[in-house]
């Protein structure tokens, strides 16, 4: 019911207004440094500069750009990991999950505990997670390892579990950071199919960060090209992507 209502409205699911994010580059502060070094001016690195865009309900936005152009930073900010230094990000009260490699697992805990804990952080109750637990475990296909500490997992198992959690939780907004090929061939095909199913669901709003031009062209309604933290171009996938390809091979 609720979903249908929202579909009818056709409003924006994500509104990003004039967002800037900067990093202060003070990596090695030790007491020796702060005592015996002259105070240097803090280096501020602007990862994202005055970016504004919006994504329609059920829309699929692709973000492309060269390495270090601020794509992942922007995505993490939308996921709420940290808030932007200026500007606002409005998710209109939708639930959001970030799907990225090496999702936040506590290494000492078992896979099963990690599933429940991740879900609770994403705003699900313990009971809801218990209901979904079996689905996630089945999808992840990591067998008896589910009751072993995550530190014993291979990198393939790690990402399979990470993928399954975000895929099976089905939040309103899904943020995908380069996780379109995980695990072995079998799981890769399966996850790609699941991904397509999730992305093509008309009720789900998706942002995909990727370097794969072909994939973005195939999947997205709109593509945003981020260059050095600024929007270089935003619009029709075919157009933006061909400009991007020309720019990169120049």
């Amino acid at each position: 019911m609720g979903r249908k209502k929202r579909e009818g409205k056709q409003g924006n699911a994500i509104e990003v207004r004039d967002v800037s994010i900067h990093y202060k580059l003070f990596d090695n502060i030790t007491i020796r440094h702060s005592l015996f070094r002259k105070h240097k001016k803090e280096d501020v690195f602007e990862a994202v500069k005055h970016v504004s865009f919006s994504v329609k309900e059920g829309g699929i936005l692709g973000i492309i750009g060269k390495n270090g152009s601020g794509k992942s930073t922007l995505l993490r900010s939308i996921a709420g990991v940290f808030s932007p230094n200026s500007g606002t990000i409005d998710l209109k009260g939708h639930s959001v999950a970030l799907m990225a490699l090496g999702i936040g697992f506590k290494n000492t805990l078992t896979g099963r505990e990690n599933i429940i804990l991740s879900g609770m952080l994403l705003g699900f109750t313990e009971k809801e997670m218990m209901d979904r637990l079996q689905n996630i475990i089945d999808f992840a296909e990591i067998g008896s390892f589910i009751d072993k500490p995550v530190s014993t997992y291979s990198s393939g198992m790690h990402s399979k579990l990470a993928f399954s959690i975000t895929a099976m939780l089905e939040t309103d907004i899904m943020l995908v950071d380069e996780v379109l090929s995980v695990g072995d061939e079998h799981f890769r095909l399966k996850s790609l199919a699941k991904m397509k199913e999730l992305i093509e669901d008309k009720n789900r709003t998706v942002i995909i960060v990727s370097h794969s031009i072909d994939m973005l062209r195939e999947m997205c309604d709109e593509v945003l090209w981020l260059h050095d933290g600024e929007i270089k171009e935003i619009g029709e996938p075919v157009e933006v992507l061909s400009h991007y390809a020309a720019f990169m091979t120049r």
Binding site: I29, I31, A100, F105, L122, P149
Partner: protein, 364 residues
């Protein structure tokens, strides 16, 4: 002489008057300025007079006034004026700071409710893995403190011949309470860095991590207190109603540890070698907390009492021993004072974390 009298009374208010006027960018009318000057004149001289009254000079006659009194009066007036102008200058920031603090406390209440279940679940999971990864399971939670107690009671009881009534239980209480405090503080320093995986993927109020860790430590501490109970029975300690004081005392201990932990948690993110300092300081504090001896009985006269008064953990340990072993009561006032101080520090720490947690992810 008249000039001196006038100067003494008139000059200090000018300082505030000038600074205050400057702040308002001189948009005031001449009449208002005079009114303001009169106000500051009264405030400053009232203050100075109050000070001199409190110092014993009851009257105020210009005739038999010494020069040194005039100089003192003038100085007091200037200091007052500077203080007041300082308050005027930072007034907005002070108000803003208080406002923010209130906001943060409100947010803390909301977040605590929201993430409480999570932290309990995390604590349970942590305990479970600890059990799963060792051969003797949860027995370690009993064995470890028990062995520690044997070591310390050998060293202090047999080697150094310190002795108190119910010595083993005496040491055990000190050790248990201290290790609760020490574990929480030393783990808080690197907490954010060690939880990098979780916090770089999803938002979580960072102190929740510490809170969950404290639940884990708290659970172990309660087990240790179970052992204390057994000892009390073995020693045939006279049990009085005062034993109930242990509940507020433990709550106090929790609050104190949480407050100190939250503060160090914040600074631990930015200062990488803080953990070394903390370890040294904690080691030093352990000996000054009277874990193995009674501070007020062993340390020479004024110092023992002082150490027990300024160090909340020392006070709480002493109170626990009084309550559990010696059938004495604890002072409600001291318990409330320490709870109050802890809550204030805790709130300031929480506010600090809220203001800075954005950059944690970027630093670690």
């Amino acid at each position: 002489m008249i000039l001196l009298n006038l100067g003494m009374l008139m000059v200090p208010p000018i300082i505030i008057w000038y600074i205050h006027g400057h702040r308002q960018k001189d948009e005031r009318s001449a009449r208002k300025r005079i009114v303001w000057y009169a106000i500051w004149f009264l405030v400053v001289n009232g203050g100075s007079y109050a000070v001199s009254y409190a110092r014993g000079v009851k009257g105020f006659s210009f005739r038999d006034m010494t020069l040194s009194y005039r100089v003192k009066y003038f100085t007091v007036g200037c200091i007052l004026a500077l203080l007041i102008s300082f308050v005027i200058l930072v007034k907005d920031r002070v108000i803003l700071g208080v406002k923010r603090l209130v906001e943060d406390v409100h947010r803390f209440a909301i977040d605590m409710r929201k993430y409480f279940k999570y932290s309990v679940r995390l604590a349970k999971a942590d305990l479970k893995t600890e059990v799963a990864n060792s051969y003797l399971d949860w027995l370690w939670w009993l064995i470890e403190p028990f062995c520690m107690m044997l070591i310390y009671s050998f060293v202090y009881g047999v080697v150094f011949r310190t002795s108190e009534q119910y010595f083993t239980a005496f040491i055990f209480i000190g050790l248990t309470a201290w290790s609760f405090f020490q574990r929480n503080v030393s783990s808080s320093v690197n907490m954010v860095r060690y939880s990098k995986d979780v916090i770089s993927r999803i938002y979580i109020p960072k102190y929740i991590l510490l809170f969950s860790k404290m639940l884990v430590n708290g659970f172990k501490t309660l087990i240790s207190f179970g052992i204390v109970g057994i000892m009390m029975i073995a020693y045939r300690v006279d049990i009085t109603i005062n034993i109930l004081y242990i509940v507020p005392i433990l709550i106090d201990l929790f609050l104190v540890s949480f407050a100190v932990g939250v503060v160090f948690m914040h600074y631990g993110v930015f200062v990488r070698d803080l953990s070394y300092i903390i370890d040294i300081v904690l080691q030093m504090l352990m000996f000054m907390t009277g874990t193995f001896y009674s501070l007020s009985n062993r340390v020479p006269a004024p110092y023992g009492e002082i150490l027990e008064k300024v160090n909340p953990v020392a006070y709480l340990i002493a109170a626990m021993r009084d309550v559990l072993l010696y059938g004495k009561g604890a002072s409600w006032l001291m318990l409330l004072v320490w709870a109050g101080i802890s809550i204030i520090v805790l709130m300031l720490g929480i506010s600090k974390i809220y203001r800075n947690e954005n950059s944690y992810v970027k630093v670690v």
